[in-house]
Symmetry: D2
Subunit: 343 residues, 4 copies
Amino acid sequence: MYSFKNDYSEGMHPRILNALAASNLEQTEGYGEDHYSKNAADLLKEKIGRKDIDIHLLTGGTQTNLTAISAFLRPHQAVIAAHSGHIFTHETGAIEATGHKVIAVEVKDGKLSPEHVQSVLDSHTDEHMVKPKMVYISNSTEVGSIYKKSELAALSQFCRENNLLLYLDGARIGSALSSKENDMTLADLGSLTDAFYIGGTKNGALMGEALVICLDSLKEDFRFHIKQKGALLAKGRMLGIQFTELFRDNLYFELAEHANKMAQLLQAEISKAGYKFLTHSPSNQIFPIFPNDLIQKLQEKYAFHSWEKIDDFHTAIRLVTSWATEEEEVRKFIEEIILSHRY
Amino acid sequence: MYSFKNDYSEGMHPRILNALAASNLEQTEGYGEDHYSKNAADLLKEKIGRKDIDIHLLTGGTQTNLTAISAFLRPHQAVIAAHSGHIFTHETGAIEATGHKVIAVEVKDGKLSPEHVQSVLDSHTDEHMVKPKMVYISNSTEVGSIYKKSELAALSQFCRENNLLLYLDGARIGSALSSKENDMTLADLGSLTDAFYIGGTKNGALMGEALVICLDSLKEDFRFHIKQKGALLAKGRMLGIQFTELFRDNLYFELAEHANKMAQLLQAEISKAGYKFLTHSPSNQIFPIFPNDLIQKLQEKYAFHSWEKIDDFHTAIRLVTSWATEEEEVRKFIEEIILSHRY
Amino acid sequence: MYSFKNDYSEGMHPRILNALAASNLEQTEGYGEDHYSKNAADLLKEKIGRKDIDIHLLTGGTQTNLTAISAFLRPHQAVIAAHSGHIFTHETGAIEATGHKVIAVEVKDGKLSPEHVQSVLDSHTDEHMVKPKMVYISNSTEVGSIYKKSELAALSQFCRENNLLLYLDGARIGSALSSKENDMTLADLGSLTDAFYIGGTKNGALMGEALVICLDSLKEDFRFHIKQKGALLAKGRMLGIQFTELFRDNLYFELAEHANKMAQLLQAEISKAGYKFLTHSPSNQIFPIFPNDLIQKLQEKYAFHSWEKIDDFHTAIRLVTSWATEEEEVRKFIEEIILSHRY
Amino acid sequence: MYSFKNDYSEGMHPRILNALAASNLEQTEGYGEDHYSKNAADLLKEKIGRKDIDIHLLTGGTQTNLTAISAFLRPHQAVIAAHSGHIFTHETGAIEATGHKVIAVEVKDGKLSPEHVQSVLDSHTDEHMVKPKMVYISNSTEVGSIYKKSELAALSQFCRENNLLLYLDGARIGSALSSKENDMTLADLGSLTDAFYIGGTKNGALMGEALVICLDSLKEDFRFHIKQKGALLAKGRMLGIQFTELFRDNLYFELAEHANKMAQLLQAEISKAGYKFLTHSPSNQIFPIFPNDLIQKLQEKYAFHSWEKIDDFHTAIRLVTSWATEEEEVRKFIEEIILSHRY
């Protein structure tokens, strides 16, 4: 059984394993105050092209989102997200558990535009309603789409004009920035958002997300919030070691490129075989629409998620590739589809 | 500079590193639903001697405490702790951040007795005050002391008679249960507490704490709470692999015994050299009282925490040993003290 | 300028004022433990026809909702509401501020059916999402509609079969139960819901809502929650005096009947004048759709809320009547509309 | 049975009742946006001698404390209070329920000094502990003592030098400022604190506390917080009417003076009769130490709280007087004591 269920089915990239091994018995400071964590922060600042940003290493996406969002908002403020946004649907109410409403906007492609945000502002007019204060977006989104630079720039400008914070969930930012359709860099994120995070877990790390705080007023005392949310790792160095390894050269983006290449290979061949897709995805998650009996047959040999019922006979499934996806397995999967199509 | 600052200065025990390497490219289910995590849970149930308990693997102590305590209490209920208890002093208000008051009792040796708890019950009489519902203890405590079985049994009985939950923070349970003065087993914890956790971070793991829920009524839906607090690791298997390695034989206790042996060696020799200690500690944290000039001299070669000012000329310091502490370094440190004493 | 803006523009019914005056200098126990509050609770139990219910008197709707809902739910549990539900839109995120997600369902008439709830259950399947545990409904709803007994019974049965709590916001329960289309009694609410509240503020009281807890498991320690939320009034007697006055005979329903009569008079005449309504409302809030120039003209003499833009030339407005609405003013308002229609 | 249990045993001062009656059928805006509430705010600004302050009217002390404190603090920040402070002991963890730790300092007379606060700062040094950000004091305190102007000024200066907010709970500020030992005015509070509240409930109002926000940075969006905590009264005018009545002349202080006079009469005579007091109180709460058999005898005719056991034969009780306390009853109570003393 080969899995296309997600991009965290395997452990860590071998280079990271080696780095952990090499440093294993060295004594360092705890709680992320070690030289590896500092080095990782320096590397990231360099890649982002700004020294005046703060970098914090945390262990997971939900943890990073809840720690950042609850630290950045006052009690009456709310965060706007797409209806498909991870914080709205798949974090067990983590944001609400810190006291903040997530205002969801129905969108088709997982992306928010200034018009979407404006509609929320229009309907939140006084103190009987929460005050929208932050816009949350994901890149790539939960349905595989990515933001163009012009789209992010428009959203960024709108947020600044309307005194809103712009926060970008980068659980799959590697895949987004490595996509063929991408026209952005880490530096663009650093100048267009107020905070964002660079996901390690889904791109080669054993775990780890690097939160980047760009806006000065959000930086103060942030380590207090990390500790309070139970997110300050005693052996924080293991996060520093991982991000150092991923960013000391181009490894992070090479891994994402491989994931994208595997997904695009799947997409091209499935398309050739005559199937349609639920969304346009240039990243490492694709959503082909298959007949239910084909799905049943594929499930005998492959693991993946059923995503959305299309009609009584068809379902969109989600296929996710990663740095560890083997091309041979991808080709076997394609063959299975072509074979099934033939008969 | 050698560090006696804490028991998480190094990485992980080599056997754990090997186990991570061996399993690295295997595909598994995410979020702790993999076979390693299940195996670790089975091993722990066996060691504790109960099948009717729930095991959850989390990444850190504060995270485990806040997830468990907020899941177990209703909004108006409070938790009783020693004034020195970790949740009261060193978790940045993590418990309060989930809405619950921590009621602190001043104690000398870090331990709570039924009398301490009774005094809290006596002063909390109606709905104008929080309702004490849980007793939080640590073993070993934050000052190195440990509970005898009779003490824990008395507290357990008192809690059951008074409809209170008993929760044990086992960040250093390995050291406690491996102490020469200990007369308890994991099985005793399983029968005397309502929930406790077995600390991995401070005893050989790269990270990881195993929460054990003994009381049936506390079990329901616990994974929801883990996810909501940002504590559900995507690659949860890495926790399962570690606890499997620590508990598939006696490794966990062997590591703790080494730590204790190093601390007791330090303690014996420092005592011989004529120094006193702040607390009686049979575990891996000791608190010698040194003249300030000796401390200053030691700091040139060793890292450790100053713990408490005794008078204008003396301070209690904290020395912590671990599974990785090298006997040679311990002996050098002792020599330093003896030498300094001589002149 | 006469106001149809809401049902809390005036003070209290004169009989309540008299009762406050008559009792004013009497000394009583504080915090709702006085004989007036106890008497009010007894009267309500009698009207509801159950002795095994708990009654708590609070000061406002949002306060009652947040205190009850946060007391009834565990941290990972969520409440389902209509998109138009007060807790979702007009309480400044009060429920989320206590940590709980409000899951909104888009409905047209403000009412939830078992099908709506089922759709939420269908999409909340595991621990990565909140756990729906409570269904929140309002009667009358925020758009003036009311539940028929059969509808509430169906919802109640569905909730019980699916282990969900059913909570009814009765800010305008007086108007609902006094409506010509109503076929329910307070006793029905007592047997079909798990908790509900009887609104005083919008039906003759200076302030005050009576929360009724029907389900045994929700009763324990509820006064702790009231106090913790800042909702335990020192001179709680003033709530007891008011509810005693409203329920010692039929005053509560007489006041609601008057409000309904005034609204229905408005509705009938506006309808005759040829205007349509946004919703079908048999209660004290009606939503006529008027041309914008008529609205502008009416605003010179009357206060009311614009509710929803219909098209570039028409808007639905909200007219609310109360126990204090004067028939003479209603007739003048109608005349204004008829006159305007004529030309 | 006459009650000295508290200062909220009766209803409201007759002039307030009259004002409520006179305005009863007038239509006004809801939610405190009526002209009475605005007028009350203007009157208070005048009495405090500052126009650049914000006034908000709420219904109770716990409600005011929790709304203000949670609005003013960021999640990791804590509030320092005396061990006897109302928020620490008698608000059912209301502050913690909003996520903030209350750091208690053991004091004898209910008052905090810069030294007390400094000791808290000294022990809170890094991100593993909450960050102390606010100092909470009560005047008069929970044990009847009051602050001298020099004491408040010293605390105020210390807070400003240490970037701490100073918040004063004025549930009994009327009694404090009307005390013979007092040397402060409302204007002093306006210049020395960052926020404080003027208690109505315990000084003649049916309910109501006026929160005064002095520091600019604390003012923004405060009405959102009031609404979110369920504290925005629909008929907010009733608070405006009351504070207008209390402050349109000197009524507020006249009522407090009467309360103080009655307490001091009790104190003088009890002292003459040879009894001692638990605390030095120049306000409307006194704490005589009586033999237990005298207490038992007094309880046959009078209601009051037992406060603290002194020894096996003596107990300190609390006697509270108010604007409504009758001198005749005070004299009868004194006679009872003198008589009992004689035999």
